[in-house]
């Protein structure tokens, strides 16, 4: 594989629910180390796109290629293998409520990767340390704050050693004072070279981290480009309006 070959390619992805077209032909590419941020109003299809890429929702049309291999026709075992390579972080964490933080991270290693328990425990602890939660390993999700839950869910996804991480508004259901700790973890991931695609409304964060911002509206990509371009020199009027609005909002939250 050459360096400029993309890891993940999405080609003309389409999805409709009943009469409503949620994705109207989305195409994009992720290269190693890329950090792409999806922005756009609610209902633009960002979350559906990420779910489709993780094969949690079947796309109606279009292709998804991992290392050049179309995964949309994959079944069963090959889907399970694919999902281990493409980690997913959810807006509402979805930690397994009956398991401690440590066991949340361990269970995929033990049950999916079939790694012996001791080794899995060691690796799970290492991932929890990485997100700064080793001392909370024995607590249950109900005993953790929202920010801590999201960090555990990131550790859980990382433990599977994914090549790409999809993050679906990872801080949207957090109190403002808790978003910082999650963003720091994501920043660390970025610094470590993780390839990521993230839907978010935190434009200032996207601006500092992303090498490309993708603006979606009504199930289509309106415009994409570097954060600088999207913020100061967007070609499309809608993009300019939207970026200016959320940028202003995050700089002056009281407005």
């Amino acid at each position: 594989m050459t360096a400029d070959e993309p890891i993940l390619v999405v080609q003309d992805l389409r999805k409709r629910f009943a009469e409503k077209e949620i994705l109207r032909g989305i195409s994009l590419q992720l290269h190693r180390g890329d950090i792409k941020v999806l922005i756009g109003p609610s209902g633009a299809g960002k979350s559906t796109l990420l779910h489709c890429i993780n094969l949690l929702l079947p796309a109606d049309d279009g292709r998804i290629l991992l290392h050049g291999r179309d995964v949309t026709g994959f079944r069963k075992r090959r889907v399970y293998e694919y999902r281990q390579k493409v980690g997913m972080i959810f807006q509402d964490f979805n930690l397994f409520d009956h398991l401690t933080a440590l066991r949340n991270v361990m269970i995929g290693l033990v049950r999916v990767k079939k790694i012996p328990k001791n080794e899995a425990r060691r690796r799970a602890l290492r991932e929890l340390e990485r997100v700064g939660l080793a001392e909370h390993a024995d607590q249950y999700p109900a005993e953790l704050s929202g920010g801590q839950k999201q960090r555990v869910s990131i550790a859980r996804a990382l433990a599977m050693e994914p090549e790409v991480m999809l993050l679906d508004e990872p801080t949207s259901s957090l109190d403002p004072e808790l978003t910082g700790e999650v963003l720091t973890v994501i920043q660390d991931l970025a610094a470590a070279g993780m390839t990521m695609m993230m839907a978010t409304h935190q434009f200032d964060f996207a601006e500092s981290l992303a090498n490309e911002i993708i603006f979606m509206e009504d199930g289509a990509i309106v415009e994409k480009g570097t954060p600088q371009k999207m913020l100061y020199a967007a070609e499309n009027l809608r993009t300019r309006e939207f970026c200016a609005r959320i940028h202003g909002y995050w700089e002056n939250p009281e407005r």
């Binding site: 949690l56 980690g87 959810f90 409520d97 009956h98 049950r111």
Partner: protein, 224 residues
Amino acid sequence: MDEFLFLRQEVAPALMSGLWMSIRLILPSAVCGLALGVLVGVLRIYGNHFLKALVGTYVLFFRGFPLLVQLYLWYFGLPHVGIYLSPYMAAVIGFSLCSAAYHSEYVRGAILSIKKGQMMAAKSLGFSHTGAIFYIILPQAIRRALPGSGNELIYLIKYSSLAYMVTCIELTGEGKILASAYFKYMEIFMIVGAIYLLMVSLATWGLNRLEDFVAVPGFERIHD
């Protein structure tokens, strides 16, 4: 003194052997009923169309037919198609299948109460559908089903008394024989009733301990 001798020499041995038979009926029926109930509950939610229809019909019939009628069918009905069950087997099969139908409803309700995101998160980690059900959904659902399923187990202890209607002489059956022989209905059936009360109390205590044992923060219990 006569009363005491009568109790010790006539009543106690008969009721003890009846109690033993009751326990032999209840324990396997409870285990098989619960296991089958969990399976049926899972299939009612996650099965394909065919399996859903199949287990749906099963639950309809086994909750719809009176248990006594079911026992008559197993014991008196099946020989007509060439299947002969001992009274004991007919009773255990009857109890297990009936119990499972009720358990399945508790399990089904519990599974429906688990958030959709749990399944999605499991899948995103690479779990198979079956693996996610087994390792992620069921451990949570069974905790939620426990109060209801426990109730069904308590109920089983008492409907095990129907076994004597298919000539499997357990506690109530022995009591009936004693009471008719000596015409002491009041005394004998008060003792029999007290023994059931004792079994139910023990089971309730055990189920509460079990709920405590599997309790997890976030799955709050009503009692303490």
